[in-house]
């Protein structure tokens, strides 16, 4: 059980509250997912075709995505064969291990790329209704708490009430919002905002954009233009392009990540609404197929409920029950 030990050791350095948040936020996910897995082990004593088919279903029900599931199942079959595992109980830790491996591929940076003593520009993109504006509000709150000077750009000039929504966040958090009239060119808003952020010597500029479906070519072009304007004003900006994904989204999230990635070089993902039921699988698929890291997760409605993504904690949250069982077994 070295894998679980390793996981556990990593947490000793981390604050309990953060871990707690992950646990709470993910409890629904874990209940349904781990519950299903335990049932699976109970129902099938033996590891056979049927067992794998059922496992496949469990993973798919977590929105992991068919391709990733297939790869994973193939891996597991090989593993079972080489390790000569035929008991369903024995394969359970192997499954957890494999899943964690997918998420923890490397210890790659999942931290935001922040500039020292210079303006950091972060652009938020995504489809409609995933929570871009809310995420920006929460992130502004976080940065503000770290003593940074923050400016927000109201780049969603399309949706009714979007500018006002960001303004409310601005008031709540105590951060300036740069805006123009509804319906104006978002690229022009960005130009104003980056100018203003520079003259105010701000540390962070958070750029909101209108939600758009990835198959709308002209809207995607508009996004490219927004990005170009930012790059023109600050050469290496935007320092982060964060794609906001709704965790309830199914397989289409992959298409979103691909298309937004192509037109704006997405550097990271914010996974929102992770506090509902049955989710998180999409993280595996995204890591597996596109290798775009998840950088932030939304775990609730409160201002503090935006957390940095930690693969270890994520896995821990997902497998807390399994972990405890394993520990109990080890003690006996």
């Amino acid at each position: 059980m070295s894998f679980f030990k390793k996981l556990k050791e990593k947490f000793t350095d981390q604050t309990d509250t953060v871990t707690e948040k992950f646990r709470d936020g993910l409890s629904k996910t874990r209940d349904s997912f781990v519950g299903a897995m335990n049932d699976l082990v109970k129902d099938y004593r033996k590891v056979d075709e049927e067992f794998f088919e059922e496992l496949e279903e469990i993973l798919i029900s977590a929105d992991v995505g068919v391709n990733t599931v297939m790869d994973l199942i193939d891996d597991l079959k090989d593993e079972a064969r080489t390790r000569n595992i035929s008991d369903a109980k024995e394969i359970q830790p192997v499954i957890s291990e494999k899943l964690a491996e997918l998420l923890q591929k490397t210890d790659e940076e999942t931290k935001l790329n922040m500039q020292e003593n210079e303006l950091t520009v972060i652009l938020f993109v995504g489809v409609n209704g995933v929570g871009k504006t809310t995420t920006i509000g929460k992130l502004a709150h976080k940065f503000k708490g770290e003593g940074k000077r923050v400016v927000m750009a109201a780049g969603d000039t399309f949706r009714a009430g979007a500018i006002e929504q960001l303004e409310v966040w601005g008031e709540r958090v105590g951060v300036d919002v740069i805006k123009q009239q509804a319906g104006s060119d978002p690229a022009a808003v960005m130009y104003d905002a980056i100018r203003s952020a520079k003259s105010k010597k701000a540390d962070v500029l958070l750029c909101d954009t209108a939600g758009r479906l990835q198959n709308k070519v002209n809207l995607m072009n508009e996004l490219e233009k927004v990005k170009r304007v930012l790059t023109r004003e600050v050469p290496d900006a935007p320092h982060e392009v964060l794609l906001v994904l709704d965790a309830t989204t199914g397989q289409n999230a992959m298409s979103q990540a691909k298309t937004f990635g192509k037109s704006t070089d997405v550097s990271g993902i914010v996974l929102t609404k992770l506090d509902g039921t049955a989710k998180g699988g999409i993280v595996l698929a995204i890591r597996h197929e596109l290798d775009i890291p998840v950088k932030l997760v939304g775990l609730g409605e409160g201002m503090d409920d935006l957390q940095e993504f930690e693969a270890d904690q994520y896995v821990h949250g997902l497998f807390a029950d399994v972990l405890e069982e394993v520990e109990e077994a080890a003690e006996e």
């Binding site: 209704g129 809310t134 929504q165 199914g250 289409n252 509902g276």
Partner: protein, 452 residues
């Protein structure tokens, strides 16, 4: 694309059973695995898929293959029919209360598109049903949600009832009802805040609004991109509120929209509308049968099958098949085929509908320009009878004359002749292939369209 359509998925399996007269159990089993994957990739909930597959399997085994269909098409036909059945056969209408106003409550998760859809629905009711709706801003939680609805109201020049974000949604709903009666509105659309189905406190608030307003419709607004979780969401909302229908939003994206099936299956209430764009009039009545094809990701095979059944004259097709085998296809046949195929609809759509078209050499990514077809027709019609029967007659001066006569260029004429030759070659190959597979039952098999 990350997704493969069912048609493509079935290719491998189909190859093995092409030319069989009956679908046996093993074939069905193999095909069902592909159907299952296609549905899962489309985000249909796995439990729903499981049951569905069991039903279809039972129906498909042992079914006689229609003469004009390949076994693969046959299975797709069954799948499509069952899927359409599952989605609910016909379109459903929005409720009209005996005693106005009719009250509609909009509920759903955050970001599903409730507020936008409320605006769209108000517009729809006024435009299509000549109604006078009152929109009620009962989302006091999300910043500027009320402002959003008010802006929509302004765009539509329609009244929006709001009491700011300090009054409880239940009170807002109650007062809105009084206001609606006073102002003689015949519809009241209540826009509620997005909430998680596991948030008991907020779900309870919805129950209270329901009790206070006794709505005629409670519509669950569902994002078409929702994954497996759609089942849990729909189930909870339905259990706690008793929804009367659903609206599927963001269907103008490239999602398959399997959530539609999941929602329908667990709530057994119809999907009434679909949001298909950002504009205020982008709300359409929901068509279950179209959705079935979209979820399967295979174009509209059923339509194609129907079209093929009605449009292709059996006798002529047999004659054509003979000609194909003997390789004496003429430009006349070509023209006739062209007309026949065209009568079925736009060509590129037909190609999309063809399972297998993608696999044939030279047909992948073929671009069919309708105008081009007109040119082709003109060219062929400018040929003499003899030329049409014996294409080898076509020398340079004849080609020049044809170009002039059809108003095209020599290059175009040359291209057509070349294409025609290639087509003949391809057909010879294909008919050879089929002969190789042994007895072919039912005159047409997979080769309904020599044009392709």
């Amino acid at each position: 694309m990350a997704f493969e359509g069912l048609a493509e998925r079935l290719q491998g399996t189909l190859k093995k059973i092409r030319g069989k007269g009956k679908v046996n159990e093993q074939d069905v089993k193999e095909m069902m695995r592909e159907v299952r994957l296609a549905l899962l990739e489309a985000d249909v909930n796995f439990k729903v898929v499981k049951k569905f597959i069991a039903d279809v399997k039972e129906r498909a085994i042992g079914e006689e293959v229609l003469d004009s269909l390949t076994p693969g098409q046959q299975v797709i036909k069954v799948v499509n029919e069952e899927l359409t059945k599952l989605m609910g056969g016909e379109q459903s209408k929005i409720a009209v209360s005996q005693k106005p106003p009719t009250v509609i409550m909009m509920v759903g998760l955050q970001g599903a598109g409730k507020t936008t859809t409320t605006g769209k629905l108000a517009n729809h009711l006024r435009k299509k049903h000549n109604r006078n709706p009152l929109m009620v801003a009962a989302d006091i939680y999300r910043p500027a949600a009320i402002k959003q609805l008010e802006t929509l109201g302004k765009q539509l020049s329609m009244p929006v009832f709001s009491l700011g974000d300090q009054v409880s949604p239940v009170d807002i709903a109650k007062q809105a009802m009084a206001k609606a009666k006073e102002d003689h509105h015949d519809y009241v659309l209540i826009d509620t805040a997005g909430r998680l189905h596991v948030d008991n406190e907020l779900m309870d608030e919805l129950v209270q609004i329901k009790e206070a307003t006794s709505p005629d419709e409670i519509l669950l607004v569902v994002d078409a991109m929702t994954g497996q979780d759609a089942v849990n969401v729909a189930e909870s909302f339905n259990e706690q509120l008793g929804i009367t229908g659903a609206i599927l939003t963001k269907l103008d994206g490239d999602t398959r929209g399997g959530a539609a099936i999941s929602v329908k299956a667990v709530t057994d209430t119809p999907i009434k509308f679909a949001g298909v764009g950002e504009k205020i009039d982008a709300l359409e009545p929901f068509h279950p049968e179209r959705m079935a094809s979209r979820i399967l990701g295979m174009g509209d095979v059923l339509t194609l099958i129907e079209k093929a059944q009605t449009n292709v004259d059996e006798e002529r097709a047999k004659e054509l098949e003979r000609k194909m085998r003997t390789n004496d296809l003429t430009f006349d046949d070509f023209l006739e085929q062209l007309a026949q195929v065209r009568s079925m609809g736009p060509l590129d759509e037909l190609l999309d509908m063809m399972p297998g078209a993608g696999k044939m050499k030279g047909l992948k990514n073929i671009q069919v320009d309708e105008k081009q077809i007109g040119h082709i027709e003109a060219i062929v019609k400018s040929m003499t009878k003899a030329e049409r029967e014996t294409p080898s007659l076509l020398n340079a001066s004849r080609r020049k004359r044809i170009a002039k006569g059809s108003g095209t260029s020599i290059q175009e004429v040359n291209r057509l002749i070349k294409q025609f030759d290639e087509m003949k070659k391809m057909m010879k190959q294909m008919s050879g292939m089929q002969k190789g597979k042994g007895k072919k039952k039912g005159g047409l098999g997979g080769m309904n369209f020599p044009f392709m």
